[in-house]
């Protein structure tokens, strides 16, 4: 067989193998728009613990050999973009109980769970992603007010030739966007936070929050 034909066949075989590959190494790239929101009259301290800073989704099952999805940059960008639109000031703190002066409330977010699904696994024609965060909320004395759990969901329709990296990246980006929307719109509706707000802000000036 001529060398050129051999090379073509080998190339075709490699493309075929790559298409069937069960490994995944995805670096999620996403951003959220600036929210249209009125800021709460509170000075926020945010504590990023080791889980939040370092969580990377990994899986080594039979069907998902060596899967790694890293969205550390995207989730840090999400919090850096969303929190300043929710509170009058935002400062990083070294501990959730730091009791820094001028801080009214402290958030400590962490990633509790993350799941993704491929079209062939769910027999649908969609890539899907779920991300569950737990956000511990402390008062200025370092006492925990509540732990708020929120889940972001994202899905994207399969398109011809859309590979799993692109499909999952879009689904995870949409899940992060959904998380951001829930943080902005649902934070002051959490019962424990609503109770805390009613005794820590001027209710005559902010009647909707009390």
């Amino acid at each position: 067989m001529p060398r050129k034909t051999m090379n073509l066949l080998l190339l075709g075989f490699l493309v075929f193998i790559a298409g069937c590959s069960k490994t995944l190494n995805l670096q999620v790239d996403s951003e959220v728009p600036t929210p249209l929101a009125s800021r709460l009259p509170l000075s926020l301290g945010v504590y990023y613990n080791d889980n939040f800073l370092n969580y990377v989704f990994t899986e080594k099952s039979e069907v998902r050999k060596d899967w790694t999805i890293d969205n550390r940059t995207s989730r840090m960008t999400l919090f850096n973009d969303i929190l300043p639109s929710m509170f009058s000031s935002v400062n990083k703190v070294d501990s959730p109980n730091s009791q820094s002066t001028g801080i009214d409330i402290v958030l400590e977010p962490e990633v509790l769970d993350m799941q993704v699904a491929l079209p062939e696994e769910t027999h649908s024609d969609m890539f899907e992603a779920w991300i569950k965060y737990g956000i511990k909320i402390y008062n200025s004395s370092g006492n925990m007010i509540t732990e708020w759990q929120i889940t972001g969901y994202g899905k994207t329709h399969t398109a011809l030739f859309k590979n799993k990296e692109n499909g999952l990246n879009t689904a995870i980006s949409m899940a992060l966007r959904d998380l951001g929307a829930k943080m902005v719109l649902d934070f002051s509706k959490v019962p424990e936070i609503k109770t805390w707000l009613s005794s820590n802000i001027d209710c005559t000036q902010y009647p909707d929050l009390c």
Partner: protein, 218 residues
């Protein structure tokens, strides 16, 4: 001469079979106030809260583009640009599900100001999807050192079902609903090269729906 006649005969049958049929239905809530004026804006959005399907972005874009090209003096706001500008109020999990929710939303000063900046008159919410309902036949392709080629015949049926709900932002009420159902059969004969003879089901639904929305609001 005879093979040419047979070829033309078969081609005519196949092309004729690729036709798609579209049925449009309209429900008008209020006939007196549904009119758009020059300088007004309209936004076409997709409903994506159903877990079993997703209204395709390209279908929503297609309806928006068709309206934009046929409505002179009317601004048709692209879906993604609108949703980004209104973030997070029009995200899938937070978007108003009925016109009463929109009324609640406009009580928020930032939302009201942004919608006024857009000068929106109508919201058009599109819900639905296109699917392949049946397929048969087979095509096999072979690659060999001497060459490559395909042989066979495949056919499939597509169905598109969409509903557009139109909200009047000026009067904060439901103006009406338009539904489009389109179906068609596509064929792909393959003799060395596969020749797709596609029924344009989704684009037929898109153009019919855009045309009906245009006549609805003008």
């Amino acid at each position: 001469m005879r093979p040419l006649i047979i070829f033309l005969f078969l081609s005519t049958i196949l092309l004729g079979g690729c036709k798609s049929t579209t049925v449009i239905d309209e429900y008008r809530e209020n006939t007196s106030t549904t009119l758009i004026h020059e300088g007004d804006a309209i936004v076409v959005l997709g409903r994506r809260n159903n877990s079993s399907y997703e209204t395709e972005f390209d279908f929503v874009e297609c309806v928006g583009r068709s309206l934009d090209s046929s409505l002179s003096g009317i601004n048709v706001i692209p879906e993604q640009s609108f949703v980004d500008s209104m973030y997070p109020y029009f995200e899938t999990s937070k978007a108003p599900m009925d016109v009463q929710n929109l009324d609640t939303l406009v009580q928020i000063p930032q939302v009201a100001a942004k919608l006024n900046d857009f000068n929106i008159r109508y919201f058009v919410w599109i819900d639905g999807f296109t699917e392949t309902t049946d397929s048969s036949g087979a095509i096999s392709c072979t690659v060999a050192p001497t060459g490559a080629g395909c042989f066979g015949f495949a056919t499939w049926d597509d169905e598109a079902n969409y509903e557009a709900v139109i909200w009047d932002f000026k009067d904060l009420n439901l103006s009406g609903k338009i539904s489009a159902e389109s179906s068609g059969t596509s064929y792909m004969p393959a003799v060395i090269i596969p020749i797709p003879l596609l029924a344009r089901v989704q684009s037929g639904a898109c153009s019919s729906m855009a045309s009906q929305i245009r006549s609805f609001i003008q």
